[in-house]
């Protein structure tokens, strides 16, 4: 097998929209070797690895992995358990809230390992990687190096034949990096047949690999062993070899960075740190850090992600105030409130952090203004910066559209806009290609040597550290040593700075890597694969369901929405939906003030709908009080009302209603008219007897189901279906879209879990929570809003469970169309509420709908549960009466799940 190839590609091409990520890549990667893909960010390394792992769908060309065609679903299914893939980004495919053990265990279940085997293998792997001590720590709280080791454990749990690692050591400290590669070596020693393909941006690492593929701009530049590549280009090291391999145009203007030595060391210090300490709770991020940086020096800060570099820089800039110790710039204490000192400092933070929505010119302008440059100086200064940093051609462009190298220059230009004496740069070159990186350092050299700017820069590239005048090595919040880089190397008798750093790290930790002595993980006893080939494996489904539950429990905002969301909304709507209009305020302008007029008014004030206010004296008062919104109704009784009425003369009572809220006004109108008519009838009855008021026929009104016509009784059973659709659907949509956004969806692509198992695993916990919600809001309806329940509770409960299952299944369907969680929240809210409110019988009965509305109402599950909820609550119905609405619900669930499964992808497009 060793001589055969593990991957063979023919003219593979991959485009994202207009961008061509891979351009006719033809490769033959030998099996059983440690193969490196080298090249800067964005040249197509990750895309190629994603294709090889099967995570991304093929577009053009041919790709054979482990002896079969990756375009064939059959083959992908067959080889998937033999491939392990660790995507780029620290812990990208891990679940941050799950513990170390839970993460590995989840992958073990997906690959169909039984309990005993999982336990044994996980312990084995965790011991080998030195993670056993952190078994119960959440993945999100691990350091970068530990996250990567955990990722490796997850990848190795099923003992793959092909291990694919995408930049596994980017951002990891050198000791962890070395440990990581040692671990890989030991694993390979234990399993000689295993092929490993690694993408890396560190040339030092790649120098130790068996075979390399150099890539640039979607194309392969060269392949061969590291020695062959160096020979081919006649370069001394891989960095130089790579630059030599680049096409002429990309190399243009490149020259090696040359920094003239600092001719004299200034006597005053630009930056001083004295016992700087920063604690977050019981965690000490920076521990007693001291250094002094003379003016004009380039001072490097070397260390891994999370070692305290950024925190130290933030204390120097006053972004954070130190727990202990002092930071001084030019002898002045740094205080967070002290704005003045900031004018002397330029800061460039780790990630690119300028406004993508502003153009290059606008960004420069904004910063110039914030730093209070004189209005007259702004334009020339911006022009000066643009020329110096070669930005003149892109002034009108938005930074988002620019390559990383130019964006870094822009960041530097922004940091320099106010001509600061100190520049603080936090990993300014991570992800930038070697040519642009060298150009960047050349600018730094000029700033330091020509302009006398003091530069404080952090990096995790050793070759950049070598360019600094002095460096500090930092680890776990402490400075291990500060000196000239060459002196550090020599003092330790080490070959390279990296070796020296590792020596310091080991000395600091006070132990050699405990894991190094641990035995390499052994392979599993027997070769599995049989159980994981099954079309439907409940274990994999439950694996997802369990994980989802654990994640939800550890996310307070989503958890609150899940458990209490429906309940809160139920209470709010129940309290707010009340249309019963009572306690209306009215006042009378009584010009008559007779017994009859008083009788008329008393009838109103005696009813439960109206409350009489102090009488009105004139029209002006009426206007004023109505304008103030203090009267819903004003009555005017004309002079001689009583006398005229008795004499049979026509009289007119004037009534003014506050029409601001028309619905309310209509109700008031109805009440007043009704009472007026009743008063007249009563008077007629008194005067002429019953016969005078009898009609031709009588109409007997029977208000069924809700004889008192109460809003709550009518509305609450109709609101329940609405809420049980909204939040459960939103949660199940989010559960899938979250994975898409965070990147852990990759685990669906590259593990044997099937789409149906994945979806059901997602649906199960949310259906359970929705069922709980269903009981809660039913209880609120019955016990708090006192809506009588008259029908069959059993039928209601069974239908409710069916309905929430349909709601969560609908959410899964929606998730297929969504990419971001924010869009998912609003689209689900809109998409479920609109049909539920308009077309499900909440307001207009389904039978009065026409056209599209009628069609939607017939297929939308809320329609059926609305009938069931009303029937069971108010109409006293049981199974026989409601069967016609239950069966459609039963049918909806498998149909929706089938649609969701069909829309879901097992590969990224």
């Amino acid at each position: 097998m060793a001589a055969a190839s593990v991957v063979r590609s023919g003219a593979v091409t991959l485009s994202y929209g207009a961008v061509r990520a891979l351009d006719t890549v033809s490769l033959d990667i030998p099996a059983g070797r440690m193969v490196g893909l080298i090249g800067p960010d964005g040249v197509g390394k990750s895309s190629l690895l994603a294709l090889i792992s099967g995570a991304r769908a093929m577009q053009q060309g041919e790709l054979q992995v482990l002896g079969g065609d990756m375009r064939s679903t059959m083959h992908r299914q067959a080889v998937c358990p033999r491939i392990a893939y660790m995507p780029q980004g620290l812990g990208k495919n891990l679940y941050q809230t799950l513990s170390v053990f839970e993460n590995v265990d989840f992958f073990g279940r997906l690959f169909g390992l039984d309990r005993a085997e999982r336990e044994a293998r996980i312990t084995d792997l965790l011991t080998a990687t030195g993670l056993e001590r952190f078994r119960d720590r959440p993945a999100g709280k691990l350091s970068g190096g530990m996250k990567q080791k955990l990722g490796l454990c997850c990848a190795l749990i099923h003992d793959p034949d092909l291990l694919i690692l995408d930049e596994p050591t980017t951002g990891v400290d050198p000791l962890s990096r070395r440990q990581f590669w040692d671990l890989i070596d030991r694993i390979r020693a234990g399993r000689p047949g295993m092929s490993v393909i690694v993408a890396t941006a560190y040339m030092e690492e790649a120098a130790g690999f068996d075979w390399l593929v150099a890539m640039n701009a979607g194309q392969v530049l060269a392949t061969g062993t590291p020695a062959e590549l160096r020979q081919q280009t006649g370069a001394a090291d891989l960095d130089a070899a790579f630059i030599a391999l680049l096409p002429e145009a990309d190399r243009m203007g490149h020259r090696r960075v040359e920094i003239p030595p600092l001719d004299h060391v200034a006597s005053d210090y630009a930056i001083e740190a004295e016992g700087l300490t920063m604690r977050f709770g019981d965690f000490t991020a920076v521990d007693d850090v001291s250094f002094q940086i003379p003016r004009g020096e380039i001072f490097g800060f070397l260390g891994s992600n999370g070692c305290g570099k950024t925190t130290t820089m933030k204390m120097l800039t006053g972004l954070l105030s130190a727990s202990e110790g002092h930071a001084r710039l030019f002898g002045q204490e740094v205080k967070p409130q002290d704005i003045a000192i900031r004018r002397r400092v330029g800061y460039m933070s780790q990630a690119f952090s300028l406004y993508g929505e502003l153009t290059v010119a606008q960004n420069l302008d904004l910063h110039a203004r914030l730093f209070k440059l004189d209005e007259a100086r702004i334009t020339p200064r911006i022009r000066e910066m643009a020329e110096r940093f070669d930005l003149t051609d892109v002034m009108g462009v938005r930074p988002d559209a620019l390559p990383l190298g130019i964006r870094q220059r822009l960041s530097l230009a922004v940091a320099m806009i106010h001509a600061p004496d100190i520049l603080i740069l936090d990993e300014p070159t991570s992800g930038v290609d070697p040519v642009a990186r060298d150009a960047f350092w050349q600018i730094l050299a000029e700033l330091s040597r020509k302009d006398g700017v003091t530069i404080f820069v952090s990096t995790h590239f050793m070759n950049e550290a070598m360019l600094c005048d002095r460096i500090s090595l930092m680890h776990a919040g402490r400075v291990l040593v500060s000196d000239q880089p060459q002196a550090i190397v020599e003092a330790h008798g080490a070959a390279t700075l990296e070796d020296a750093f590792i020596d310091y790290l080991e000395a600091a930790i006070g132990e050699t890597d405990a894991a190094a002595e641990a035995p390499a993980p052994t392979g599993p006893k027997q070769n599995r694969g049989a159980p994981s080939r099954r079309i439907f494996d409940p274990r994999r489904m439950f694996s997802y369901a369990m994980r989802e539950t654990m994640e939800l429990r550890r996310d307070p905002i989503r958890g609150t929405l899940a458990i209490l969301g429906s309940l809160i909304l139920m209470l709010v709507i129940g309290l707010g939906i009340n249309m019963d209009v009572e306690d209306l305020s009215f006042a009378v302008l009584d010009h008559d003030d007779s017994k009859i007029s008083q009788d008329y008014v008393n009838q109103l004030s005696g009813s439960r709908y109206f409350i009489e206010q102090s009488p009105l004296l004139d029209y002006a008062e009426m206007d004023r009080r109505m304008r103030e919104g203090r009267l819903d109704l004003a009555l005017e009784i004309p002079p001689h009302f009583g006398r005229d009425l008795l004499r049979g003369k026509d009289v007119e009572i004037g009534a003014w209603i506050d029409g601001a809220n028309p619905t309310r006004a209509e109700t008031v109108q109805g009440y007043v008219q009704g009472m007026h008519a009743y008063w007249l009838t009563e008077r007629a009855r008194e005067e002429y007897g019953d016969a005078a008021v009898a009609g031709d026929f009588s109409l007997q009104l029977r208000y069924r189901y809700n004889p008192d016509i109460k809003s709550l009784v009518a509305m609450v059973p109709a609101v329940i279906p609405l809420l049980l659709m909204l939040i459960p659907a939103m949660l199940s949509t989010l559960s899938v879209v979250r994975e898409k956004e965070l990147g852990s969806i990759t685990n669906l692509y590259v593990t044997p879990v099937t789409r149906l198992e994945f979806l059901l695993g997602k649906q199960l916990p949310y259906t359970a929570i929705a069922t709980l919600n269903f009981f809660l809001i039913t209880a609120v309806a019955i016990f708090i809003f006192k809506v009588p329940f008259t029908g069959s509770f059993l039928v209601y409960v069974l239908s409710g469970i069916l309905y929430v299952s349909a709601a969560t299944a609908l959410g899964l369907v929606v998730s297929a169309f969504m990419k971001s969680q924010l869009a998912a929240v609003f689209a689900t809210a809109m998409g479920t509420l609109l049909p539920a409110v308009q077309f499900s019988g909440l307001i207009d009965p389904v039978s009065s709908l026409q056209g599209l509305g009628a069609v939607i109402s017939r297929i939308y599950p809320t329609t059926y549960f609305m009938t069931i909820a009303r029937g069971a609550f108010s109409k006293g119905l049981g199974f026989a009466d409601l069967a016609a609405s239950i069966w459609p619900l039963v049918l909806t669930i498998p149909v929706l799940l089938a649609i969701a499964t069909a829309l879901m992808r097992k590969q990224e497009k």
Binding site: S349, N578, D650, D696, F697, Q700, P707, M715, P717, R870
Partner: protein, 370 residues
């Protein structure tokens, strides 16, 4: 606090918003389409109400009655038997079922005052209420006409002359449009201010700002004024162009006074948006929080259903929500033409709530930056 910084940062916010197509769509949509549809697509309480008739008489008069029920108020009546009636009502297929007894016409002519039964599904509140009135009127009119019996109807001895003030035709669209504006104002203030903060955090630009000579207070104030200004301009546009010109809704009160009240409300809600953003931390979490906060605010503010109908406790609690006062204020000013002499209590409430929310937000914002 440096006013020039606040101005410059605010201009940056507005530039950023103008370049954000989704947010701009939301702003434009909320103040145009949203207002237009809520004003014109008023749900008539009686629209194709389903009715069925059990005609046990099958006489000319019963046929007359059946013929009288027509769209748009009613669906054409379905003729059913007495046995079917319960089942159809149980299934929610009919809101009204009219039962005309045997011998109805005979008894009518004989002056025996026969009785018609009208069954109403009272779980459909709105239809049941207004619909039964219509049914009664229609039946009475048909019977009257059939009898062709024009009794010298005694002139009503007392007439009630009803006039609705501020909205004489009780056009529901007016109310919906104005309340639609107040809903849009609240939604946008929350979303724009909150999203502006989260966007900076997700892009890492907030730290960048803080190393410059800028204070958290300035950052927060700049976001509040700029986003509020955008919403305020939208509000004025919506009120003048959409409501007055396009929809022909008369605005009674002073526009300036209303905008002043809106500015106070924006101060409060934008502060709330920033507070929510500091709690949520990420956009998706913010989206979820929005739903849990916005719905209660809007449903209980009095814009949907009258505040007076809510339980006293809810009314009291909602006194601390800016929406409540804003809804009262906008109804008073825009419909009743009330002046400052009437709405000053609302102004004070809004300013107080705004100040409280602002201080809480500032506190959390400072902590959020740590």
């Amino acid at each position: 606090m440096d006013l020039v910084n606040i101005l410059n940062l605010g201009i940056k916010e507005i530039r950023g918003l103008l370049r954000d197509p989704i947010m701009m769509f939301l702003v434009v949509f909320s103040f145009t389409v949203q207002i237009y549809t809520s004003a014109t697509a008023v749900i008539e309480t009686l629209n194709r109400a389903p009715i069925s008739v059990v005609d046990e008489d099958d006489s000319p008069v019963s046929n007359r009655i059946i013929q009288a029920f027509q769209p748009p108020y009613f669906t054409p009546p379905v003729l059913i038997t007495q046995g079917e009636m319960d089942r159809r009502m149980d299934e929610g297929r009919d809101t009204f079922a009219l039962d005309i007894p045997p011998g109805f016409q005979r008894d009518l002519l004989a002056g025996k005052v026969p009785e018609i039964q009208l069954n109403v599904d009272a779980t459909r509140m709105a239809q049941a209420f207004s619909g039964s009135g219509y049914v009664q009127q229609i039946v009475a009119a048909e019977v009257n006409e059939f009898l062709n019996h024009y009794r010298s109807s005694e002139p009503p001895s007392a007439d009630l002359v009803l006039r609705a003030r501020y909205n004489p035709t009780l056009n529901g669209g007016w109310f919906q449009a104005i309340m639609g504006i107040s809903d849009s104002v609240t939604l946008l203030a929350l979303v724009l201010a909150g999203a502006a903060l989260i966007r900076e955090r997700e892009h890492g630009t907030i730290e960048h700002l803080l190393v410059m000579p800028v204070t958290p207070l300035e950052i927060m104030v700049s976001k509040i004024w700029s986003m509020s200004l955008v919403v305020l301009v939208g509000t004025a546009f919506s009120l003048v162009v959409m409501c007055e010109w396009l929809l022909g809704i008369p605005v009674n009160g002073s526009l300036a006074l209303f905008l002043l009240g809106t500015a106070l409300h924006l101060f409060a809600t934008a502060s709330l948006g920033i507070f929510l953003a500091t709690v949520a931390g990420s956009m998706p979490q913010f989206g979820i929080l929005m739903i849990l906060v916005l719905l209660p605010l809007q449903v209980l503010s009095g814009a949907q259903t009258p505040r007076e109908s809510m339980p006293q406790l809810v009314q009291d609690i909602m006194l601390f929500a800016p929406n409540t006062h804003y809804v009262i204020l906008s109804q008073s000013v825009l419909f009743r033409g009330a002046g400052l002499d009437v709405i000053w209590p609302q102004m004070i409430w809004l300013a107080g709530i705004g100040a409280a929310l602002f201080s809480i937000s500032l506190h959390y914002f400072r902590r959020f930056l740590k």
